[in-house]
């Protein structure tokens, strides 16, 4: 049971609790661990994903997760400004509950998944500016 806050940190669970002020469905995409079809959501503006049920794994699957530094124990939690969420394609529509005053000023969307879920903390473009070959790249987002 730990909290992860670094860009690229990843968790995976059979069920997860999700908290975000903004939750956007994005697409259907192969997941980064086992290449299964999963729905992708973007969580934004201070969000978290917490494993509430561990995924049953055999030794091979477990070593795959260990090699890729993926956390999956109950209570493991991602906390970040922006998270990418993969949810099993068979998961029914996420029921979002809006909780007013989740922080002193803003409300938040709370939901949970009941199928395999993966979350990882996104890499900002700003981080790439620190890389040697990206120094000359002018990062300006199109509005």
């Amino acid at each position: 049971m730990a909290e992860f806050i670094k860009e690229g940190d990843m968790i995976e669970g059979a069920k997860c609790n999700i908290y975000a002020r903004k939750l956007l469905p994005k697409r259907l995409e192969k997941d980064p661990i086992t290449n299964e079809d999963m729905k992708v959501f973007e969580l934004d503006l201070n969000c978290s994903v917490e494993v509430t049920q561990e995924l049953p794994l055999d030794d091979v699957d477990k070593s795959l997760r260990d090699d890729n530094n993926i956390h999956g124990k109950i209570g493991d939690k991602l906390k970040a400004d922006a998270i990418r969420l993969f949810v099993d394609r068979k998961c029914k529509r996420l029921k979002i509950e809006v909780k007013e005053g989740a922080t002193s000023r803003h409300g938040a969307s709370l939901t949970s998944t009941d199928k395999r879920t993966i979350g990882f903390i996104k890499h900002s473009f700003k981080m790439y500016e620190t890389l040697f070959w990206a120094k000359k790249v002018e990062i300006k987002q199109v509005k």
């Binding site: 697409r27 259907l28 192969k30 079809d37 990882f120 473009f125 990206a134 990062i139």
Partner: protein, 175 residues
Amino acid sequence: MMKLETEEIVDSVAEQGNYSFIISSDADSIAKDDSATTFTIDNDDVKICGVKDENVAKFAGIANMSTFDNFMKVQRLSELLLRAVNNRTRERNYFRIYSELLEGELSEDEFDKEIDTNGDNYVIPAGECANMEDIGIALKISPSIKDVPDVDEMASLFSFSHKSIQKAISDGRIY
């Protein structure tokens, strides 16, 4: 129709940039008929002039190294952009049938069956291992593409694997 000899072209470019050129002895094989035309590219990064006919173009010029590198990367850029367009089409297709599901035009079983049988039309394919050059090209053009706010969105759009991104970050930090 005006025709330029290679030497004239090179002189013209050299004049613009105060550079001198050494011209090889075989640098003069453009057909001198009516199909030959001259062309120029002249902006802050590149100064080129040349002559071309139906079969070949011969040119001389001066370019910033970064711009010259970009010319070399054009083919790879085209491949990546095609991949991005196809992935955006897959997203559009997915939301199209999803809206049909919400409006009751498709049942859940039909929706699932459609994705199972024609997955390539709806699912962004697994990320390919991208090298630093591919990621560099994608980084350079991403700011000009709508709705690519972060590196992971860029990776999805161009079907780069999560591992490639991680590796690029760790490799990049070495320097």
